[in-house]
């Protein structure tokens, strides 16, 4: 109960900060729109290429875009935490009896919330372009994106708490996320990839999430890759939340 209450309180604080900063809200809406307008048209030509999955360019591209949103939308959240460390905010919160798990979960869920809103906007914007989805499919994909967001945010916060400086945090996060992203088949399906690249991708958990999201949008909700992707993300998510909460509980010198 205390965990729920505390998480809700912490969520409320960061939600307040978020909606009082209009710039973030605008960026949140504009970013997915840019992807649809400036990148998706390229796919029109590619979709007839051999190896490109059937089901329409947008049904192939949008799931990848959503996964990318989950990853990139949460990878940068550590910056605000480092600023708060500097202002003494985190220390002030840690000296109260608030649950350490809630300190992580409350703010990470706020990050997930904005990622989900962006995802929903993206899906809605893609409909007139030719994306076809059903309601259950959207729910399953949003769950998947929420897990990716929570996983990434928890890791990002842990890294921010360990490094305590933007100059160490930024290289670590950006060096890590780019290969993870490229090796997951987010932009173009891995069916195009040579065998060695596919082998490496098989070790990348995010590629299973992309596969699952794509399966949902290509209307194979019963495809085993959907359950596989969700379970892999859920397990990793749990582990990363534990690590992140420990980083909040641990003393930071």
């Amino acid at each position: 109960m205390k965990l729920l209450r505390d998480t809700w309180l912490v969520f409320g604080r960061y939600f307040w900060i978020f909606i009082h900063n209009p710039a973030w809200v605008v960026i949140g809406v504009v970013q997915p729109l840019l992807y649809l307008l400036l990148f998706a048209p390229l796919l029109k030509q590619i979709q007839s290429t051999p190896g490109f999955p059937r089901g329409g360019a947008y049904n192939v591209f949008v799931p990848g875009l959503l996964v990318q949103l989950g990853l990139f939308g949460a990878a940068g959240v550590g910056f605000s935490l480092i600023a708060e460390l500097r202002m003494g905010v985190i220390e002030r919160l840690r000296v109260t009896p608030v649950s350490r798990v809630a300190l992580l979960l409350g703010r990470a869920l706020r990050d997930v919330f904005s990622i989900l809103v962006q995802s929903l906007i993206l899906i809605l914007l893609a409909l007139p372009f030719g994306l076809s989805v059903n309601f259950i499919g959207v729910v399953v994909v949003l769950l998947l994106i929420a897990l990716i967001g929570l996983l990434t945010a928890s890791v990002a916060y842990a890294v921010a708490l360990w490094t305590r400086s933007e100059n160490s945090y930024a290289p670590i996060i950006f060096t890590a996320t780019l290969p993870i992203l490229l090796l997951s088949g987010v932009l173009l399906p891995l069916t195009f990839a040579p065998q060695w690249l596919r082998n490496i991708a098989a070790a990348n958990p995010l590629s299973y999430a992309v596969e699952a999201a794509r399966a949902v949008f290509l209307a194979h909700l019963s495809d085993p890759s959907v359950v596989k992707g969700v379970v892999i993300m859920a397990v990793l998510c749990l582990i990363s939340v534990v690590i992140g909460a420990r980083a909040f509980g641990r003393a930071v010198a």
Binding site: W16, I17, N21, M87, G88, P97, A251
Partner: protein
């Protein structure tokens, strides 16, 4: 006050903290024994890097000790950190309020973290805003605050749940004299309400003016503890400063040999003598200088400052050490 007089607000035995870096092990706090009585203003005095903040952060549950024991507000620091957190308030050097957030919002949120209902937290925030005279800025974001306003808000955040013990880490560092005086007033008002205040400072006048008792820490160890009066009396008796026509060295040579002079030095062309009782030593000094044919220009009698205490205990001036 619920806390009995017999029970100390803080009691530590051999409190230690070691930091390991890649190359070496640094003992930031090297066995601190402290007793802070309920209701007093206790000052922790020392230069930067002496271990003040590390000790404070251990006592505030932010940093686990490497050794020793501590009871804070009657609870064991190791086994009951959650209980300790409910009973203490802590204001760090950085403050703790977020520049992007409105002051009143911070106060309400802080109250909620201590389990208050939304109504109770809102009422408490209004109370603190009035008490700390933050009405003009309470509904603006913190980045618009003056240094003094921000510091008062930070202190308010530490007071939300009416803690019986409040930790203040260098509460007046970086403030202008007027804001400093305001913070002192606030600390005295907390004292009047029965709150125990444990503060760190490297300002001697602050420790002297504000604190009931003081501990001086240097290189992670306590080198002196007592009321400012006791410390000053125990160390040096009185200080006589004088200047003579010509080189001060001649006067120093003559006076240094006198039995009533405990210690003598020259600072900025002035002879500085530590004596047991200034009112007795002064006539003797005058006679001695006359007899030696030295012409006295000025003479003054001072009570020793805490800097004299620090100088005697550590062999260097706190002002030099802090710089």
């Amino acid at each position: 006050m619920a806390v009995g007089v017999a029970q100390a607000a803080i009691e530590t035995h051999g409190l230690r903290r070691v930091f390991k870096t890649r190359k070496q092990v640094v003992e930031a706090v090297a066995g601190v024994d402290l007793t802070v009585r309920p209701g007093e203003i206790f000052g922790f005095l020392g230069p930067n890097g002496a271990g003040k903040t590390t000790t404070l952060r251990m006592l505030a549950t932010l940093l686990p000790p490497s050794g020793g024991t501590a009871k804070v507000a009657g609870c064991d620091l190791r086994t009951q950190p959650d209980r300790v957190r409910e009973l203490i308030g802590y204001v760090s050097q950085a403050g703790g309020s977020d520049y992007e957030v409105v002051g009143r919002f911070e106060l309400v949120f802080q109250g909620r973290l201590y389990g208050m209902s939304a109504d109770a937290a809102t009422r408490r925030a209004a109370e603190l805003i009035e008490m700390l005279e933050l009405e003009v800025c309470a509904d603006r974001t913190v980045k618009t605050y003056s240094g003094g306003q921000k510091r008062r808000l930070d202190i308010g955040l530490g007071l939300v749940h009416n803690p019986q013990l409040l930790f203040l880490d260098e509460p007046t560092t970086g403030l202008d004299p007027q804001s400093r005086a305001r913070v002192w007033d606030e600390v005295r008002r907390m004292h009047d309400r029965g709150t125990t205040v444990f503060l760190t400072t490297h300002y001697l006048d602050e420790a002297d003016a504000l604190c009931d008792r003081v501990a001086i820490i240097d290189y992670g160890k306590i080198v002196a503890e007592g009321t400012p009066e006791e410390l000053k009396r125990a160390v040096a008796g009185d200080v006589v400063t004088l200047s003579v026509a010509g080189a001060p060295q001649a006067a120093l040579d003559v006076l240094q040999a006198q039995p009533y002079v405990r210690e003598a030095s020259i600072e900025d062309g002035t002879v500085r003598l530590y004596v047991d009782r200034g009112e007795v030593a002064m006539p003797a000094i005058l006679r001695q200088l006359d007899a030696s044919g030295l012409q006295l220009l000025t003479i003054g009698l001072h009570r020793p400052s805490l800097d004299d205490v620090f100088l005697r205990k550590t062999g260097r001036s706190l002002r030099e050490a802090a710089a």
